[in-house]
Amino acid sequence: MHPAFSVLVFTVMSGAGYGLITLMVIGHLSGLSQLQDSAVLLSAGILSFVMISGGLLSSTLHLANPKNAWRAFSRFKTSWLSREAVFAILLYPFMLIYLGAIWMDMTGAVVSVAGILTAVLAMVTLFCTSMIYASLKTIRQWNSSLTPVNYIALGLMSGAVLLAAVQTLVGGDLAGVLQQLALALVVLGAVCKVIYFFWIGKPAGSTINTATGFTQASVRLLDQGHTSNSFLNDEFGYTVAANKLVRLRLLMLAVAFVVPFLLLLCANSVLLVVAAASTIAGLLVERWLFFAEARHVVRLFHGDQRV
């Protein structure tokens, strides 16, 4: 699949934003001492808000006809994209109430209810985003429960690193819980990702034979029906050399997981910022790979033997 930059930015940024706000709400409401300071909370909240909103705005950049974007709310019944849009928007009032309440130093039910709803909606939205991909039977590499697990794990992981960074930056010493949480989530994210790589490595699914209906002999494409470009080629024909993919996977694992893990161990605010940046950068590569390694079944019609 062609990795559209706007979509990479969208999923990574908003994923991190949702993870950040969710973890923050949990920490805040569960009474974690380092997360009772409104400066810390507001900083993290605003960062999350910016990342979520920036991501969503970025996602509209890949629409070819954005003037109809508002209609995306109308097919909640069947469309994960519509659900994502609805939940993403639904999140805003609660998040604003929650952050507003913190700003006004309010406490009590309003904060808790708004906070809980914000966290739940953030996770639901992230889940919907992941389901947009996971629900596509046409792309074997996405059509798996590993996709939502990955999205949520990586969203929480990047959120945790961000939270840790904000917390030390604004509030001083890093809370051990946050550090351990972040370390654990980084490990979890890495494990999920590695499992995913193993899983997509196994040949499975449709082949050029099932695509064309000729299952008794070899089938080769002679002519795709056009010699220059087509929408399908641009969208689905994206191909990266296998050795480049391997190198990028290693780079990604290093930048997204190993480097943040090591920096998290230092618990130094500057290094944590670097860790957060590294996580985001790594996840952009991860998301790029998520697209670049996904092979749509239409490719079978264009000559790939399997996907």
Binding site: S74, R75, K77, T78, R220, L222, G225, H226, T227, S228
Partner: protein, 979 residues
């Protein structure tokens, strides 16, 4: 077929889709190719909404091909020429610097130049036309002008098929006949990718497949039609005669021939004089003391036991045997000669297999399958008919084996004989013009050959005595001077190519530039892209077009071209006359030409404008009539010199070739109630318009088959002026006419004979009176090991020569061609898929991109024809795929034979009999290009756009009206849950 529509309840809630009140439908004839399908065009506000097939039309019965469906993009092509163009004084030919001039000025320039030539030496005008369909008019124009230097595209196209058929059965493949799609049970297709019968072949193949008839495709490449063949015979190019004659061998060996057919309808029982080394050897015996080729051929009557006139009815000729004439000369029946020749081991399947690459078992099996279908699955049609001798016959006997063959056969230098070999196979099986066999299309069949002789004399201000092109039957008919030198600029009808009945368009530029046989003044081209894809040796042709004498004058002093589009040829012209598009003009597809007849119906058709031109253009038809008037051609002027015809339309209605015969055969007579022959009908155009642009006259059931010997048919044909007499058309398996040329080569002819050795040798070798096989000439003259691959072309179904790269839709299907190669062969040679390679022939080299495939003969490489374009031409950008990645095979093909340092070096690369350009004789070698060497080579500088041309748009959203969207209501969106 039942309409599905009636069963579909009209869904409520659908809007009116588009406003049809604003639309008109008009009927005309497609000209996206020469198949000439009937079209129904929906027009709104002078814009084309939709072009669909006319379901009532005899050719296409409602269907259209990819090109026909893309007519809109031809009509709106940015490459359309918009005004007459004159090369700017002081600029070079080929630079493409033009000024727009008025039609008045253009016509004056032309008139001045042409009237001078006509008054001095008319042959200094060479007028050649490409893939056009108005040869009746242009040929007549040339002969009225008085130049024999005229021909259409046949010489570089498929004269081998025309001549092969017309010298054998009186009709032919190509546009002259069709398989009986409705009845045939076994169909063999030889070397056809698309052909002119584009939609009819497709409709026909569907019928075959539906009926379970067997479809065998003989072709080195398996694409297109061959894709759906039941059997694919991956022959080595140029060897089809071996395959056909080996099947003949199998039939003869097993005595599986239709002897009744041979005796009644062919000359195989006729007696041939056998006196090797003496005058008259190989000619028919025509009785005592009768001069060569005069009088009637004789046969031996088995009952009367004497020699009798072969053409008499109710005689009992011996099909086999050797006899002695009273004067002691040895005689053999033609059939006996055939037995000798084809039972020879050379044609035994085991030996044939080695040459053509088809397994011996397969050759034998196919021959026996065909024999089975022909003789055991015979069909009869119980219709009473009258034979040529006036005898009633109670049925037509059909042997349902049929064949079609085209350029895979014709584009080789042995194509004439190969084509005859295929006809021989058909005739031995008795499958000619019978139910289930190969059927002629009116005005064919004709007597063998048609009785027109090529013109030989030119005089100032005088029309030719006969048409420029005709059908020679003996050396006396050649267009040569007393020294044996060619009279025509293309050297047609010379010893180089004696039976070149369609001329040699591919030699004109090369000969004119060399001044061999002489210099010309003006080259006038209509619809021929000679500066690009229709020339052999393209790069050198471009040089020739710009070559100058020492005095600085161009070697071809003046070039006039009529084109509708900014083709490569435009840049090389001095005067460019912009034509209309096919949707903008009046035109006829005439019975005097190659009409749209179907086997069982005489048909012709017209074009009637459906949109108004938005440019300063004039149809070439109109230019021809106008110029004929201005130059005062006798046929176009009245006694006092005033013009006879005010316009092309007027000419078509009122011109009569002979009383009652005109360009259009339908709706003749004052009231339009006469067909084929009748006085001019002033309302003829209107009648065609009312009848959806065509005329169709069905033959009566008793006129539909065996027309070479069918009096009911021949009588009609004579009335219609299709044939000169109602005499039987005797199929000529043995061609005495061809033998007469061989005798001239042997020095045994009582008439003109060649003086040069190479001519003698060619006549002796290739003018076999019986179909024969010889190795194609290029292959004889190059090192086969050095050039291991055959290189051939195919026509893509969705492009017509160079015409369609300007078509925004069609060029999306293909804007680059590849060199296709068998995967196994490529792996052996270390050539990778999609790599760039050098392809080299004796004539030069090109760099191209390779694509590997399975379905190609291992010794063959091939590509799609005419995809490459010069940047800037055709409204294309300089970096278009056509200009940078696509390639022409033409650069590798020489118009002359490969040089060997002998007299043949100067001889045309053509069939030695017919002068048919031998495009597919090409042999090449292939080597990988160096790393980094990519892109097609050679490439030529981009051509200039026409003056005042609008730039080609970079986005196109064509629509003839504002689209009416189907809207889904919000309530539906919100409420419906899909499963």
């Amino acid at each position: 077929m039942t309409s599905q529509a009636s069963k579909i309840p009209v869904a409520s809630g659908l809007p009116e889709f588009e406003d049809r009140a604003n639309q008109e439908t008009k009927y005309t004839t497609c000209y996206m190719c020469a198949c000439r399908c009937g079209i129904k065009v929906t027009v709104e506000d002078n814009k084309v909404r939709f072009i669909q097939g006319n379901p009532n039309h005899p050719i296409n019965k409602g269907v259209l091909c990819a090109k026909g469906n893309s007519g809109i993009m031809k009509q709106y092509s940015p490459a359309k020429l918009s005004a007459p163009l004159l090369r700017k004084p002081g600029t070079e030919r080929g630079a493409g610097e033009f000024e727009e001039i008025s039609w008045e000025r253009a016509l004056d320039i032309m008139e001045k130049r042409l009237s001078h030539i006509r008054a001095t030496d008319p042959r200094k005008l060479a007028y050649f036309t490409g893939r056009d369909q108005m040869q009746a008019l242009t040929g007549m124009w040339a002969s009225q002008f008085g130049t024999y230097n005229w021909a259409a595209h046949g010489g570089f196209c498929s004269v081998n098929m025309a001549a092969g058929g017309l010298y054998t059965m009186g009709h032919a493949f190509w546009e002259f006949g069709d398989p009986d799609w409705d009845n045939t049970k076994y169909f063999m297709m030889w070397g056809v990718a698309e052909d002119h019968s584009s939609n009819p072949i497709k409709l026909g193949l569907k019928k075959l497949k539906e009926r379970g008839a067997k479809f065998v495709a003989v072709n080195p490449v398996r694409t297109g039609y061959q894709a759906i063949a039941d059997e694919w015979v991956a022959i080595r190019p140029g060897t089809d005669a071996v395959l056909a004659l080996s099947m003949v061998h199998v039939l003869l060996k097993n005595q599986l021939v239709d002897d009744e057919f041979l005796i009644r309808y062919t000359n195989s029982a006729q007696l041939v004089v056998h006196t090797p080394g003496e005058m008259g050897d190989g000619l028919f015996y025509r009785g005592e003391g009768v001069k060569n080729m005069q009088g009637e051929p004789q046969v031996w009557d088995l009952v009367k036991e004497e020699f009798v006139d072969a053409n008499l009815p109710d005689i009992n000729p011996a099909l086999f045997g050797e006899f002695t004439a009273p004067d002691g000369r040895k005689l053999r029946t033609a059939m006996s000669i055939m037995l000798d020749k084809y039972l020879d081991e050379q044609y035994a399947p085991e030996n044939a297999a080695k040459e053509c690459g088809v397994a011996a078992e397969d050759i034998e099996r196919m021959a026996l399958e065909m024999a089975h279908v022909a003789f055991k699955e015979t069909i009869t049609i119980d219709v009473e008919w009258t034979d040529w001798a006036g005898r009633k016959q109670d049925k037509f006997i059909g042997r349902p084996v049929s064949m079609h063959a085209m350029r895979g056969i014709s584009a080789h230098s042995n194509g004439f004989q190969t084509c005859r070999a295929i006809h021989l196979l058909q005739v031995l099986l008795g499958t000619v013009d019978c139910p289930g066999g190969h059927l002629a299309k009116p005005p064919f069949p004709k007597h063998i050959p048609p009785g027109i002789k090529p013109a030989k004399e030119c005089a100032p201000n005088t029309p030719l005595k006969s048409p420029p092109l005709g059908f020679p039957t003996c050396p006396e008919d050649l267009a040569i001077d007393e020294n044996g030198n060619p009279l025509r600029i293309d050297k047609a009808y010379s010893w180089d190519a004696p039976v070149s009945c369609h001329g040699l368009m591919h030699m004109v530029i090369s000969n004119a530039v060399k001044g061999d046989p002489y210099k010309i003044d003006t080259l006038m081209l209509f619809m021929a892209n000679m500066a690009w894809n229709s020339s052999m040796n393209t790069a050198q042709t471009m040089d020739m077009l710009t070559a100058k004498e020492d005095n600085g004058e161009y070697k071809i002093p003046y070039i006039i071209c009529s084109d509708a589009f900014n083709s490569e040829m435009v840049a090389y012209s001095d005067l460019v006359l912009p034509d209309t598009t096919y949707l903008e003009r009046f035109d006829t597809i005439s019975m005097l030409d190659r009409p749209i007849s179907e086997p069982h119906a005489a048909c012709d058709s017209v074009r009637i404008p459906v949109v108004k031109p938005d440019r300063d253009v004039m149809s070439w038809q109109e230019v021809m009539v106008e110029m004929a008037g201005r130059l005062g051609f006798p046929a176009f002027t009245k006694e006092g010199g005033e013009r006879k015809y005010s316009s092309y339309k007027d000419f078509i209605v009122n011109f009569e070739k002979e009383p009652g015969i005109g360009f259009l055969a339908g709706y003749r007579g004052k009231d339009g109630d006469k067909s084929l022959r009748g006085e001019p009908n002033p309302r003829q155009w209107e009648a065609y318009e009312e009848n959806e642009g065509f005329f169709e006259m069905h033959l009566e059931p008793n006129q539909r088959y065996m027309r070479h010997a069918n009096l009911d048919y021949l009588t009609l044909a004579k009335e219609a002026a299709w044939v000169g007499s109602t005499k039987q058309i005797v199929i000529e398996l043995y061609s005495e006419k061809i033998q007469s040329f061989r005798l001239a080569g042997q020095g045994l002819y009582d008439g003109p004979m060649p003086t040069e050795e190479h001519h003698k040798e060619r006549l002796v070798k290739y003018f076999d009176p019986l179909p024969t096989y010889y190795v194609p000439l290029e292959e004889q003259r190059i090192d086969r090991e050095e050039y291991p691959y055959h290189a051939v072309n195919q026509r893509p179904m969705f492009m017509y020569h160079s015409w369609d790269s300007q078509n925004a839709w069609l060029r999306q299907i293909m804007s680059q061609n590849y060199l296709f190669m068998n995967r196994v062969a490529a792996e052996r040679d270390g050539i990778e898929d999609l790599s760039w390679v050098w392809v080299e022939s004796h004539n030069g080299k090109i760099r191209v991109q390779v694509k590997l495939m399975e379905g190609t003969n291992e010794q063959t490489v091939w590509t799609w024809n005419a995809i490459a374009k010069r940047g800037g031409a055709w409204g294309l950008s300089d970096d278009s795929n056509e200009a940078t990645d696509a390639f022409l095979m033409n650069h590798l093909i020489s118009e002359l034979l490969p040089a060997k340092g002998d007299q043949n070096d100067r001889v045309t690369n053509s069939d030695p009999v017919t002068g048919q350009a031998a495009w597919y004789d090409l042999r090449v070698k292939i080597t990988p290009a160096a790393p980094g060497e990519t892109g097609a080579w050679p490439s030529f500088g981009a051509l200039k756009p026409q003056p005042n041309a609008d730039a080609s748009p970079d986005m196109l959203s064509y629509t003839s009206h504002k689209n009416v969207n189907l809207v889904r209501p919000m309530s539906d969106i919100l409420t419906r849950g899909e499963k």
